[in-house]
């Protein structure tokens, strides 16, 4: 690991620890309103000031960090699991199954990612409780974000299909499911980890875009995306630069992920 990668990994660790300890660090509940001090500047009681409804900005940022940093890896885990299952099976079995999986992958890759998410979001109710909106965002990204990983995993699985150890396992009567779980998957594990880590920044950015557009995590629950909805008035931000904290945190985390995985491109 290069020194810059070590720094990036350390920053990520610190942010993840902050996220875990958020409950103990929160000065107030994220939805609690201090109605007498709306839009207040930083003070010892409210280190990042308050928003237009008098809610403590630091509490909302810390809780929003937790929501965004739990949502994206959870969705990445689900999408990587689907990609691993489909890609490994397609690469191992080959034939018509591989052709169908790859055709379905090509088909869904032809759709721009945000258009696909909008179609699915339009099918579901919009006026839902905040926790349900988090679950919807997680399921949408997890169930629809596997396509790019499938192609990579399928190509790798195709590479091990004719290897000696699989030939030996087949000749000793190993069933396809056992072949997949005990022989192919352990060999592709490093690739699964890489696909998982690549997906996290992609999903962080997707959640931010969806929430800014009002289709992601719903208020009053904070996330980096809906905390940035207030950026529509940039002139206000130049007078109150501390309000840029969610953007700074998001950019830092995504850049750190890019540095930790330098050879991979993060696509939106």
């Amino acid at each position: 690991m290069k020194p810059l990668q070590k720094v990036a990994a350390s920053i990520l660790c610190v942010i993840f620890v902050l996220m875990v300890l958020a409950t103990f660090l929160l000065p107030a509940h994220y939805a609690q309103q201090f109605r007498d001090i709306p839009n207040a500047g930083p003070s010892p009681a409210h280190l990042l000031g308050t928003d237009a409804l008098g809610r403590d900005s630091l509490s909302r940022l810390l809780y929003g960090t937790r929501v965004s940093l739990l949502l994206a890896p959870a969705a990445a885990l689900l999408s990587t699991f689907i990609a691993a299952l489909l890609g490994s099976a397609a690469g191992l079995l080959g034939g018509w199954f591989e052709r169908i999986v790859l055709a379905a992958t090509d088909l869904s890759l032809a759709l721009p990612w945000l258009f696909l998410l909008l179609v699915v979001r339009a099918l579901l109710p919009l006026d839902v409780p905040p926790l349900v909106s988090v679950a919807i965002a997680f399921l949408m990204m997890g169930l629809l974000g596997w396509q790019a990983s499938v192609r990579v995993i399928c190509a790798a699985a195709r590479g091990v299909r004719d290897s000696d150890f699989l030939l030996l396992a087949r000749s000793s009567g190993c069933k396809p499911v056992r072949l997949l779980l005990r022989h192919v998957a352990p060999n592709l594990r490093p690739l699964f980890y890489v696909q998982f880590f690549i997906s996290i920044p992609l999903f962080i950015l997707t959640e931010a875009n969806l929430s800014i557009l009002g289709l992601g995590v719903m208020e009053p629950m904070p996330s980096w995306g809906n905390l940035m909805r207030g950026f529509e008035d940039f002139s206000m931000l130049s007078a109150n630069p501390w309000r840029l904290a969610p953007l700074v945190l998001l950019v830092t985390v995504v850049m750190c992920f890019q540095l930790v995985l330098p050879s991979q491109e993060v696509t939106q």
Partner: protein
């Protein structure tokens, strides 16, 4: 030999066209299925109007039920589609086809201009990087690229509104970092090939090496990138048009999603997907043609 090459390219083109048509048909049926099974399908607003008598409401329901069987629904949907009728928008109460005709040129214009600008900037910067090959240039462009990649398209859109920059510029800012990193790595890989090293050792000028040895090698994947960049820019157009209040397809899709206007959103997506696929087929064929003609 030439005739054989042209025939295989023509065959490939026809196969891709067939794929495009079947995909369009599949997409249309899928869209129809989504519309058909969406909550509230077949419910007439007039049924809730107390001024309508029971017999009239019953007649309305019978009329609605006419096309509610799935095969009948598909048949009517496809026959309407063949006549250019994409249905009616639930939220805007206007024909979807008319809305698409109005909005598509606006988004097309922004996307094409944004793509042009992004390609120009990314190619120029990558070529500059190839010429200088200094660590400072590489580090600063990588840092800028990484920063731009980390910005959500919606934040770029809000910044564009604040700075009063046109929509196409915001699209270019979103597309540029993705193009730059790919073009740069392609050019560097081509530059490190043994035949380029041999050309340099023989004392050929930089421009000759670039035009005769590097670009022909990098051209096929670059041409394929055109299709991908179309998909990225159409995706970026949604938050940018929505937040910049630009009346294009992106804003229409956003309004449709917020209003749960399924007939509108699925048809917009269908049209965008067909454009994407056509761009991909074109880029693929251009890449293959170029690879076939390359020295």
């Amino acid at each position: 030999m030439e005739i054989k090459k042209s025939t295989s390219l023509l065959r490939l083109g026809l196969r891709r066209l067939l794929f495009l048509v079947s995909l369009g048909l599949f997409g249309a049926l899928f869209s129809a299925t989504l519309v058909r099974f969406a909550p509230g399908f077949g419910v007439e607003e007039r049924e809730l109007d107390p001024r309508w008598s029971a017999s009239s409401v019953e007649a309305l329901r019978r009329q609605q039920a006419l096309h509610q069987g799935l095969p009948s629904f598909y048949f009517h949907y496809l026959s309407a589609l063949a006549h250019g009728d994409l249905g009616q928008s639930d939220s805007l109460k206007r024909p979807v086809g008319e809305l698409l005709r109005q909005r598509l040129p606006i988004t097309g214009n922004s996307v094409l201009r944004g793509l042009g600008l992004a390609w120009l900037a990314a190619s120029l910067l990558a070529l500059l990087g190839l010429a200088s090959r200094g660590w400072l240039f590489a580090a600063s462009t990588t840092a800028l690229n990484s920063l731009l990649l980390s910005l959500p398209a919606a934040v770029v859109a809000m910044l564009a509104v604040y700075l009063r920059t046109p929509v196409f510029f915001a699209i270019a800012v979103v597309v540029f970092p993705r193009l730059y990193s790919y073009i740069r790595s392609l050019l560097l890989r081509a530059y490190d090939q043994p035949h380029v090293l041999a050309a340099r050792a023989r004392g050929l000028g930089s421009s000759v090496i670039l035009c005769r040895h590097i670009l022909p090698l990098a051209a096929p994947p670059l041409l394929a990138l055109i299709g991908v960049s179309f998909a990225i820019s159409f995706g970026a157009a949604i938050p940018i048009e929505a937040l910049s209040d630009s009346p294009g397809l992106g804003q229409l899709a956003w309004h449709a999603a917020l209003g749960r206007d399924l007939p509108l959103i699925v048809n917009v997506t269908l049209v965008v997907s067909l454009i994407m696929l056509a761009a991909n087929v074109f880029a693929d064929l251009a890449g293959r043609t170029f690879a076939g003609n390359a020295p």
